[in-house]
Amino acid sequence: MSVSGMSVSEGPEPYRGALWRQPVNPLVVVDDPEAVELTGPVFGSADVTDLDGDLTRQRPGAPLGERITLTGRVLDRAGCPVRGQLIEIWQANAAGRYAHRRDQHHAPLDPHFTGAGRCLTDDQGRYRFTTIRPGAYPWGDHSNAWRPAHIHFSLFGAAFTQRLVTQMYFPGDPLLPLDPILQSVGDDAARQRLVAAYDPELSTPDWALGYRWDIVLGGPSATRTEGGRR
């Protein structure tokens, strides 16, 4: 299912963020080829162990919920793979509760699920996580507001300018058109780029459902020029 047809008029007002936290002045555009931000931090095998991408095996027992495999590619704005970069995810458990003490939703914590994972992209820019599908949960935006199931993603590219923090959603979720946070993204085509696809080819028989979500990092980088690699 696509999320097309989601329009602002069907749901609540898009989330505009905390009013007193929004800068009022326009961003100052830096167009300096020597800017430090055109490079960025690097991470390696010391930062990420092979088990960190499997959120179902971080505790002695198995977490409750629908086991899923989540994979995709990370590309830069030229369409080239983002290699060897860090991806971090965090999410609620199957009941819709985060392992965070500020989350006081009346849903159970799962002693076998923390909900944080990380991995490095491979030479083709691919990533892979095994986790459980998070549950929906209520929040205080408006009366009876529920967040659709989502996974938070944090990504680094080859440049600090490519930094991305975002949220991934699941296809066919009836809460998508009602979610002010997803609706805060201006146009429908852009909202669709936050929704993963169910991919039967990725599902593992008798084990896990497979979802695919590709990610494109905006922002310039010093490692490439118009003609290719610098």
């Binding site: 989330y15 002045n25 300096d32 609620a92 946070i181 905006g218």
Partner: protein, 186 residues
Amino acid sequence: MTPLPTPSQTIGPYFGYALPHPGGGQIAPTGHPDTITVRGRVLDGHGEPVDDALLEFWQPAPDGSRAGAPGSLRRDPVGGAAIGRDGVAFTGFGRVATGADGSYVLRTLPPGGAPYLSVCVMARGLLQHLFTRVYLGEADDPLLSSLDARRRATLVAERERAGVHRFDVRLQGDGAHEETVFLAFG
């Protein structure tokens, strides 16, 4: 065809068990004699502290290298716990969550070849992360020289004493204080 970028979404209130890591604000190798401290607060348009912000820092090494190094958030290979840096390598990357009073502390080495540290600010209630810079004093710099004095001053850390620099991030002006200059990259 050029692919379209994936939109940004708010970091939300619950990143605290996933992103911060031990020693995230300690970029300087342990006991390094050139260590400087950058400290301050993140504040909103009421002048109230932002207690759920995450600040990330990126900078060149003292020798000017911008290559960085892995090891900012090392994992214990046995238990998987985050154990942080080895105290020797200079990775150039720092990550600090603000405290209940909106404060942060970063200990690092002075950057080589650039007069500033790059900063990425994330917080609940921000739809998208914000970039800014900490200049460790006035400098001959294309960004600073493009700004008027009042705006420029928001990017220049105040020297509290030798080796200690104060830099507040004001997400919005509060009437008495100017909003921090935030950046976009073309």
